[in-house]
């Protein structure tokens, strides 16, 4: 109890709270720019925390972290461009809802879902950190590969109108992930001696090209609409704070399920928010009574994606605090920040620096509250984006995409890749290929390949994938997931045929 109070006393100082507020604003603004990830925002914050007390520094970075997961929602909802990889699934429903004239509601649902997702994940973090950390560390490459196979079956529910094109998009994503040096032996693959392909196609450049450039270009297809000075999104600028809070809380099953998915995926090293939002969205769609409403502005879709990705913030801290293993790049930076202050992170952290660990838990809750306050106060400002005409916003956002792409690795060659991928993305979009499976393929491809090869290097016996219980559970879940998806597709096709066969009165 004394440690808890010491931690709380360090967080609730005026200076720490002001720094956290600035961190929260910085996280939201940075993640709202396409190409700027939460990781980049945290990296830029790290040097600023060196002069602070350890807990103060960590609290500021947690504020950036939590704010960043919400910031991605803004461009996802208003522009249809995921600000960060963790908000890919948010675009599926938040953007259509904004387009249907409810941009304020779309943002508000996302903000509340993010808030509850973070709070739920912190509760889980407090009670379940040690057992979950021990579970996560017992997973070997067999279990990871099977988990990725399960995650790949999500493609089945993201394929859009055509299952074939959806599958092809997923395979294109997997193919893109094979370009560059191979992840185990470092052999060059498919670079044809071209320097910019040797390091592979950076995931974020693919994300910006595929989603942002293609979306922006498709906005100017109708010349008359652009020339008339129409805005990207039209509708009431009404945030409906309390009404939407009730609306989100009225969906407790979806909220809690998505948060738990976020925590579990966040606790697995190497996974994180970029996968959690898609898995949570997929599960929400599968268990919904109206799966056909997903993709057309369903509030459940936004809640699932946003609470899922925000919950990974707490989940990621589980292996970090419990075992000293960073689950993601952001957690690695948090760990580095502690090490700068001479604190070694590992199983003894909670024994030697209990005040620091409790302080981190409190900082998470305070950070999510700050994110909520900042969001509610500033959303009106962000919603002004919807009033900007297309002729202005398209070139400006394109410039932001270029800056985001360059700032990733400070490489001009990434800019050339951006234009190729942007054109390819637009062609795929124009032909009706669903782009979400492609992104999923790019994310999961390297993880699947690494773990498959690592598993077979450890033991050549492939039956281990079936004989190890957790691996088997994931594989069974993958088969069930495919059967479920095929059944839903057949059902949807039958009902469409029935509608088209029905005589018109």
């Amino acid at each position: 109890m004394a440690d808890f109070l010491t931690g709380a006393a360090q967080i609730f100082t005026v200076a720490t709270l002001i720094y956290m507020l600035c961190g929260s604003i910085a996280g939201i603004v940075a993640a709202a720019i396409p190409g700027f990830t939460v990781t980049m925002a945290i990296v830029l914050t790290l040097p600023l925390t060196f002069t602070m007390e350890p807990l103060q520094g960590i609290a500021v970075m947690l504020a950036v972290y939590v704010g960043g997961y919400t910031g991605g929602l803004i461009s996802a909802a208003l522009l249809g461009i995921p600000g960060t990889p963790s908000s890919v699934a948010t675009t599926f429903d938040a953007f259509p809802m904004a387009r249907n004239g409810e941009p304020g509601r779309a943002l508000s649902i996302g903000v509340w879902a993010s808030f509850f997702g973070t709070v739920l994940s912190t509760v889980v973090l407090i009670f379940a950190a040690p057992p979950l950390a021990l579970f996560a560390v017992r997973l070997g490459p067999w279990e990871y590969f099977s988990l990725i196979v399960f995650a790949l079956t999500i493609v089945a529910s993201l394929v859009g109108t055509s299952a074939m094109r959806g599958m092809l998009a997923g395979l294109i994503g997997l193919a893109i992930s094979t370009v560059g040096t191979d992840p185990i032996m470092g052999r060059p693959r498919f670079d044809y001696g071209i320097e910019m392909l040797q390091a592979g196609l950076p995931f974020l450049v693919v994300l910006i090209g595929i989603f942002a450039i293609s979306q922006l270009v498709s906005e100017v297809e109708n010349a008359d609409n652009v020339r008339s000075g129409n805005a990207l999104v039209t509708g009431a600028i009404d945030f409906q704070t309390w009404k939407v809070m009730k609306e989100v809380l009225m969906r407790p099953v979806n909220l809690i399920r998505s948060a738990i998915i976020g925590v579990l995926i966040g606790a697995l090293p190497g996974a994180g928010g970029s996968i959690a939002n898609l898995v949570a969205y997929d599960q929400a769609k599968r268990s919904s009574k109206n799966p056909e409403s997903f993709g057309a502005g369903s509030p459940d879709g936004i809640i699932a994606s946003e609470s899922g990705n925000s919950a990974t913030a707490g989940g990621g801290l589980i292996p970090l605090i419990g075992l000293g293993i960073p689950g993601s790049a952001v957690d690695a930076i948090l760990m580095a920040s502690l090490m700068v202050h001479g604190i070694s992170v590992g199983p003894r952290l909670i024994l030697d620096h209990a005040d620091l660990v409790y302080g981190m838990f409190i900082a998470m809750v305070v950070a999510s509250l700050m994110m909520l306050i900042v969001s509610v106060c500033s959303m009106r400002l962000f919603l002004r984006v919807t009033e900007i005409p297309k002729w202005l916003i398209v070139p400006v956002v394109m410039t932001c995409c270029v800056v985001g792409t360059f700032a990733l690795n400070n490489r001009v060659t990434d800019l050339y890749l951006l234009i190729f991928i942007g054109i390819a993305g637009y062609v795929l979009r124009a032909l009706g290929y669903s782009l979400a499976p492609l992104v999923l393929g790019v994310i999961l491809g390297p993880i699947a390949e690494t773990n498959l090869r690592r598993a077979l290097m450890t033991d050549e016996d492939p039956t281990l994938f079936l004989t190890r219980p957790i691996s088997l559970i994931f594989l069974i879940a993958a088969v069930v997931s495919i059967i479920w998806a095929v059944r839903s597709h057949l059902k949807a096709r039958k009902s469409t045929e029935r509608l088209s066969d029905a005589p018109t009165s």
Partner: protein, 169 residues
Amino acid sequence: MSDTDIVKKQEAGKIALLLSYVFLFLCSVGLFITATAIPASRFEKLGAGAFPKLIFAIMALVAAIAFIGTIREIPRSAYANFIAESVAWAKRCYLVFVCLGALTVYLLLIPVLGFSIASLLFLFGLQVALMPRTAKSIALAAVIAVVFSFGLNWVFAEVFTVFLPRGVL
């Protein structure tokens, strides 16, 4: 638009899809062959080429199935209209080509002119190309171009210590 025009458009769309399946099939076959040339390692059962081979084999198979499924839906007469329909689509969506062309030139100019000048030209040029031209909107475009070129460069250099390309001129 009459029903015949809509049908013609849909058929042209299907032919475009068919071409995309052919393209993906040829690419996957070519890349599968390239992957077979990647040497295997004696330290592991699967080499660096095994995973790509698996991906490209499945891709070729799916593209072939999609091709067979689509070609049966297209009447022979549709192929004659394809070029005319494509040209009509390109004319309707000419701003798409303007945008992509401007972006390509902009990205090629960044290493030469530097981020600030290239962005200024891109932002002002593209805004003027897309906007309903009035004195007020042109003035606004000029202000936006300056803020998001020189202003953005200043913010990144001074606040984030991220230095955007300065160019060679």
